[in-house]
Symmetry: C2
Subunit: 319 residues, 2 copies
């Protein structure tokens, strides 16, 4: 009911009388007053003027599902949103929902995570109310080997969303980091549940340092606030991310990976650089020359041999 | 406590006095009598003779963890067993345990499944008390593309276990069925949870038609009872499967896939046959010439081109 009242206030674009709300939602004016008090506690600024009614002055920048969904206009991604004040990891909850047949596009959001994670079981710092920590369930008709495309697709979508909302250009470090000024601003983690040759579902995790103060960030990281010297609306950025992921995912399903790969290359800080890449198989050094159709990185060693890597840690080598 | 009493009776190899049990387990003789009555209800035949004590005449063929673990002597597979009288699917429970850090080798067993499943979401008929329905959690250090090896490894292990316990030769139809007289006797299902390039855990499901009456089986299926004209100990067969899986899995980790692939080829009904194979990509016809290092099937089309398939439905073509 609170959500319905907020929707009313937002659509009103000015004052709306308690009588109008009362009539439309079929509740007493006393009940409306009670709900308004609760909304104020959640951070909504609402003024009440006798004879005029209520007016919404501002909404808190909290990742409530109804805030994200207001004016979202996606068809799949974010149609269902599950939000938590704090939890261990949005990945775990999303995986659990995926196992229990949650529909494609289901989003899990948290204000803070106590055990936010990155690739290879690493930690992802997730201070409460400061960042965006979300996981999206997708159900692509593909084999496990094609799933790394979704990591790259999401990197492109998040970079575009950041650009759209804040004007900041975030570049992509293969396979899953977004950098501004060579510092990490966002990470993407893709996990899957599959039969041997058929993906059942994928969970894409996105973590973004939005309003964290620079001095509270891990070394080598930055935040949008740090770059812009001011806060960014997490709600607006989250909405734009969901829209861009939906758009790019639709493009992948309809037209294949080629155009997305092209965008990815344009945003890459890894290609055409001399790098060292380390994975369980060892370390190799060479020039990152391309990504292949599955999102793997192709490295040309000094011997001229080109090697493909589907995962690993990349370090730039000064040449 | 019941399990401890059963272990005592088994090790006794004859009568054991209530006094001895009482002393060793530090419980009253009246309590022992009560436990013995409960064990009888579960199907254990126990005789009690004044002045001699108790003797175990026979154990029920039920998949109790302590029955499976008695004399099992594996190091990893089956060290932890979770058993259910009936459930939806051992795969779901095993996946859930895997997500919650259950150790490698954890086994989930059920007497019956209401939603036992096969590959591609198909149904696996799982009548209560008649078959073996189990799932094993493994945590191999590998990439998702290597996981199909585990399907083939398990097929070899299950075939060897059936041979060992019953003398019946079950052959392997790629990728995941065991056949006797061209009829399905067992199926293997491999599911995984992974990051893009790193398996977190694998759940291997094994379903075997053991004591099902032939007239209660789906078309194209058979059971060990149907072939042998008599019942088979599900407990003994389950134990042998866990041993063989452990043995072959250890071999894979130490020496690689080559020797296992060799065994698989020797048991295959698919290789060197003319087949049609259907997958989401379409249908192709040709001769199945080999499996590759990841367990994929290589088919030589009439044009001479060799195609690799990692999944699909195979139908034999009379040539």
């Amino acid at each position: 009911m609170q959500e319905k009242i907020i929707d009313f206030l937002k659509k009103a674009d000015g004052f709306i009388s308690g009588e109008d709300i009362s009539g439309a939602l079929n509740i007493s004016r006393a009940a409306i007053w009670k709900y308004i008090q609760e909304l104020k506690k959640e951070g909504y600024e609402i003024v009440a003027v006798p004879h005029l009614g209520y007016r919404l002055e501002s909404s808190p920048d909290k990742l409530f599902p109804h805030e994200i969904q207001f004016g979202l206009s996606t068809k799949v991604v974010g149609k269902k949103i599950v939000a938590y004040d704090s939890l261990d990891s949005t990945m775990d909850i999303a995986f659990d929902l995926g196992m229990h047949n949650a529909p494609e596009g289901t989003v899990v959001l948290a204000e803070g995570q106590s055990r936010g994670r990155g690739r290879l079981g690493r930690n992802w710092s997730s201070p409460k109310g400061k960042g965006i920590y979300l996981s999206i369930i997708l159900r692509p008709l593909s084999s496990p080997s094609e799933v790394s495309r979704l990591t790259l697709l999401t990197a492109v979508a998040v970079s575009e969303a950041i650009k759209q909302v804040t004007g900041v250009s975030a570049l992509i470090k293969w396979p899953n980091d977004l950098l501004v000024d060579d510092k990490k601003i966002a990470g993407i983690l893709t996990e899957l549940n599959a039969e041997v040759d058929r993906v059942k579902f994928v969970v894409i995790g996105i973590g973004i340092n939005v309003n964290t103060r620079p001095d509270a960030l891990p070394e080598g990281a930055t935040s949008l606030r740090g770059i812009l010297q001011g806060p960014v609306s997490r709600v607006e950025l989250t909405k734009e991310i969901l829209r861009q992921v939906e758009r790019r995912y639709g493009e992948l399903n309809k037209h294949g990976f080629a155009a997305i790969a092209q965008c990815w290359k344009g945003l890459s800080v890894t290609l055409n650089k001399r790098i060292k890449i380390t994975d369980p198989g060892g370390m190799i050094e060479g020039v990152a020359v391309d990504i292949d159709k599955d999102g793997g990185l192709l490295i040309r060693k000094d011997s001229g041999v080109v090697v493909k890597k589907t995962a690993g840690d990349v370090v730039r080598v000064k040449s």
